[in-house]
């Protein structure tokens, strides 16, 4: 089955990004396909490559990036939400790309389930 994922909060402050990551990992392990994760609202902060958490904590940004590269997940940052919050090509982590909101609509149209994580 194909799942589209929507992440609406940034790393650390809310659990949304953690929950989404654990869900995506479990879905792929069970043989489902997760073609796209769309990052909206404060979710765009998940793509900030300057994020450097403490050594004893998980690295949320890097973890998404690794997943994208290893499992071929299309991580899309909303361009309008990103501009407003200062997530742009300059500070975009590998494995993410910036595009328009239509990519969210497409994910809702082209998958069997849309699963949203936020606050």
């Amino acid at each position: 089955m194909k799942f589209g994922i929507l992440v609406n909060e940034g790393p650390f402050t809310h659990q949304a990004s953690d929950s989404a990551y654990q869900f995506v990992k479990a879905a792929i392990e069970k043989g489902h396909e997760v073609p796209r994760v769309f990052f909206y609202y404060d979710g765009v902060y998940n793509a900030n490559k300057l994020s450097a958490p403490q050594a004893d904590d998980r690295n949320v940004v890097k973890r998404w990036s690794d997943l994208a590269i290893e499992k071929d997940v299309d991580l899309v940052v909303c361009v309008a939400a990103g501009l407003r919050r200062g997530i742009v090509e300059d500070n975009l982590m590998d494995g993410f790309r910036i595009s328009g909101l239509g990519q969210l609509t497409e994910a809702a149209m082209g998958t069997d389930r849309l699963v949203m994580f936020g606050d």
């Binding site: 589209g4 929507l6 073609p35 796209r36 909206y40 609202y41 994208a68 590269i69 071929d72 997940v73 299309d74 991580l75 309008a80 939400a81 494995g95 790309r97 328009g100 909101l101 239509g102 969210l104 609509t105 497409e106 994910a107 809702a108 149209m109 082209g110 998958t111 389930r113 849309l114 949203m116 936020g118």
Partner: protein
């Protein structure tokens, strides 16, 4: 990592936008509107639903000048126009509904006259049916 290309040709879904948050205290009310509008470009069916404090989003008379914040209200007018255009255009297969939950409205002392846009007022039970038959639900 690579861009994924969805096959969306001929796909027609019903997307419900479930607005439950008050405007201005948070931005959710504003940014969700952008996603409602973009779904029109794909000619998808949409339920734009206002529940809980979300009903305050469409309250008339919002004036944000003193706060220097962007006023969310005009965008709802655009959404209402999009809906009316779709309703009138017989070649267009796009059904939009703008829905307020009666219980949420009444708990907050509001009536349909308080709203900037024309809404369908549904009971909780009726709205539960709308949610249950949606293909995707986007909360805001």
């Amino acid at each position: 990592m690579a861009e994924y290309n969805f096959e969306t040709e001929g796909v027609k879904k019903t997307i419900t936008f479930l607005n439950r948050k008050a405007p201005y205290g948070t931005i959710y009310a504003l940014e969700v509107l952008e996603s409602v509008l973009i779904s029109a470009a794909f000619e998808q069916h949409a339920n734009i639903v206002f529940v809980d404090d979300g009903v305050f989003q469409i309250k008339k008379g919002q004036d944000t000048a003193d706060l220097e914040m962007k006023n969310f209200l005009p965008t709802y007018g655009i959404i209402e126009m999009e809906k009316e255009d779709a309703d009138e255009d017989e070649d267009m297969d796009m059904n939009w509904r703008i829905i307020v939950e009666k219980e949420s409205m009444e708990a907050r002392g509001l009536t349909p006259d308080d709203f900037k846009v024309t809404v369908e007022v549904l009971s909780s039970a009726e709205l539960a049916d709308v949610l249950a038959t949606s293909d995707a639900v986007i909360g805001g």
